[in-house]
Subunit: 224 residues, 2 copies
């Protein structure tokens, strides 16, 4: 069975790629160069996809800096740093990018329909301390309806299915799953900044580091 995998090169999306492999899917990965703060994660996505043996890896280019609205697409908005997990859990953070997952899922849907894939894997996670609105189960369910009604394949045959295996897992559980599946953590990239080594202080680094520490494991990615 063919599956399209939304692959950002981070911990979560790399895990779902390996999950799709374990589910015996032929994997077609897709990444997005949307003029985010750095392209380091795109290189990781390519390396992880290559390592996993994807059939094809697409990179779609567009510019979300046209209107900004996020710390990831507007350099005048600072990245939050050194926040505790508790602080992270309070509000929707400035790293929220308007409608990003809707855009990503739309392209994945188009790609999936064009190659007659049956599934789209996405690594969203509602328990992440992020509070992102477009990572929650009710949102994924709404997109599933769009997948069913908005395509020829959905109207005339079996709708393309959204698979979100991490949606109710804690970060530590995702790492445990990834370990079982053999995810090459050293090739992944989670840091929002994107220097030669991970910053260790942005929300994404802190969440990742805390989870590895809680499990008593070492994160093989080098930190500043």
């Amino acid at each position: 069975m063919k599956a399209v995998i939304l692959l950002s090169g981070g911990l979560d999306s790399s895990t779902i790629l390996y999950q799709a492999k374990a589910d015996s899917c032929d994997c077609y990965s897709i990444s997005f160069d949307y003029q985010q703060r750095h392209r380091r994660e795109l290189h990781s996505a390519f390396l992880v996809g290559q390592k996993a043996g994807v059939v094809e890896h697409q990179v779609v280019n567009f510019d979300l800096r046209l209107w900004g609205g996020s710390a990831l697409t507007d350099d005048s908005i600072d990245l939050p740093q050194e926040r505790s997990l508790n602080e992270m859990s309070q509000n929707i953070p400035v790293t929220y990018v308007p409608a990003r997952n809707t855009i990503f899922l739309s392209f994945a849907l188009a790609y999936a329909e064009a190659i007659a894939a049956q599934r789209v894997y996405i690594g969203v996670n509602a328990l992440d301390y992020s509070g992102y609105p477009d990572c929650r189960p009710d949102y994924i369910q709404a997109m599933q309806e769009v997948f069913r009604l908005g395509t020829k394949q959905g109207r005339e045959g079996q709708p393309i299915e959204i698979i979100a295996p991490l949606i109710n897992l804690k970060k530590t559980e995702i790492i445990q799953l990834g370990n079982k599946l053999g995810v090459p953590w050293d090739l992944t990239w989670s840091c929002y900044a994107g220097a030669d080594v991970a910053c260790g202080v942005c929300d994404s680094c802190r969440l990742r580091l805390a989870a590895f520490a809680e499990l008593g494991l070492e994160d093989p990615v080098p930190y500043a």
Copy 2:
């Protein structure tokens, strides 16, 4: 009130732009260069937007030829020509572009949230002889749920509303509405081909010509 208008430069989208103006909206138009067969329609979108006095006109670039799947994004698939309205009504045509309206609405949603707009206007039309799955009322309703659940604005305040004023109108009724609103038909472009003058034989030209003829009106766009 701010509104984002999906403006392709065709008859339908130009009409909804003028409808949004009539609804007293400040209009922000958005067009897409997705490597479609021609860029002629993008020029029309710009001209119509300018004429209508939009506050801002965005053009988002991306490449749907990466995977094709449509006569509009794959030159090896011929455009249907000289089909009767009856033939057009039979099936979902090869000009269907996988998930196109979902991609368009996703970007419109992102833009709308970034500028704190309250509405997104789209010129879909279920009675068009096209049978496109992503032009029907149930699909628009599903996207409305995504607008509500997939954004910060939808979760914390008033969801951005999708306005589809043409969805149940016939082509002749759209032209009558546009005439009332003062749409500059001469600046619009509907032809799928995109030469110096409209071909007159593609589905889009034939649908448009038939509607003008039925009303006893002359289409000011030059035809081959």
